[in-house]
């Protein structure tokens, strides 16, 4: 365990990178669904259609953003942000695919996820500022004892 690195704060940048990651992975899912509509499984070469291949590019970009984000924050804060992809997919899918639809359950789910992910971002900044407060007061105490 000598290589153990403890990261106990999360930068805002990391949270934005994770949100970017969910946009790209959602785009990847939609492109795969579009691409799969063009695939005839008896002709494997039909898998090489543009939307399907672009889906991999989008997923790769999203994954890269997740790696960059992981360097700058806590896993327990960053990973659950992935749930935001349910929001993007639920909202955009009915626009692209005529058979898809929104309903009360989905709207409620989207709303609950947005509130929860915001709370997660807020909770990590809250603990950080409390720790900064602790450091501030200990510096003050040091100053007082020196004076």
């Amino acid at each position: 365990m000598d290589d153990k690195v403890v990261i106990n704060s999360t930068q805002k940048k990391a949270i934005w990178l994770m949100l970017g990651c969910t946009v790209f992975t959602s785009l990847g899912q939609l492109l795969w669904k579009l691409g799969l509509a063009n695939v005839n499984f008896r002709l494997p070469l039909t898998l090489l259609n543009l939307p399907f291949l672009l889906g991999f590019v989008a997923y790769g970009l999203g994954f890269g953003m997740m790696l960059l984000a992981f360097k700058k924050g806590e896993l327990g804060v960053l990973y659950p942000i992935i749930a935001t992809s349910y929001v993007w997919v639920s909202l955009s899918s009915p626009i692209i695919f005529p058979n898809d639809f929104m309903n009360g359950w989905k709207w409620l789910g989207v709303l609950v996820i947005i509130i929860s992910v915001s709370l997660l971002g807020y909770s990590s900044s809250k603990r950080k500022s409390r720790e900064e407060g602790k450091i501030d007061s200990s510096i003050k105490q040091l100053g007082e004892s020196a004076g």
Partner: protein, 113 residues
Amino acid sequence: MIKLIPVLLVLFGSLIGASGTLIIKKGTNKFSFFQLLKSKNLWMGLLLYCVSMIVYVLALSQERLSVIYPIASTAYIWTTLFSVKFLGEKMNPWKWLALSGIIVGVTLIGLGS
């Protein structure tokens, strides 16, 4: 009736996926971005992601989305527990509330799908 086997499959898949995430996160803590691309951590993590993806697809062929989604979202719980146990991260009540909310939200979307 909810079928037991797909439920267990998804539970297993979510644990495998969370393990993959933990291994990748350990890699990002240890290596620079370009070192990471050549590291065992990244490729082992990706392999575990592939396994969990295959397990999810298998389960989805046997059970409804409204059952699969909530169980798959337990991956967020496993990842959080792993990050406390293996990465020394700290939780607070707000984070637990947010995590529960995310699972409720995913469950609701599963119900509507």
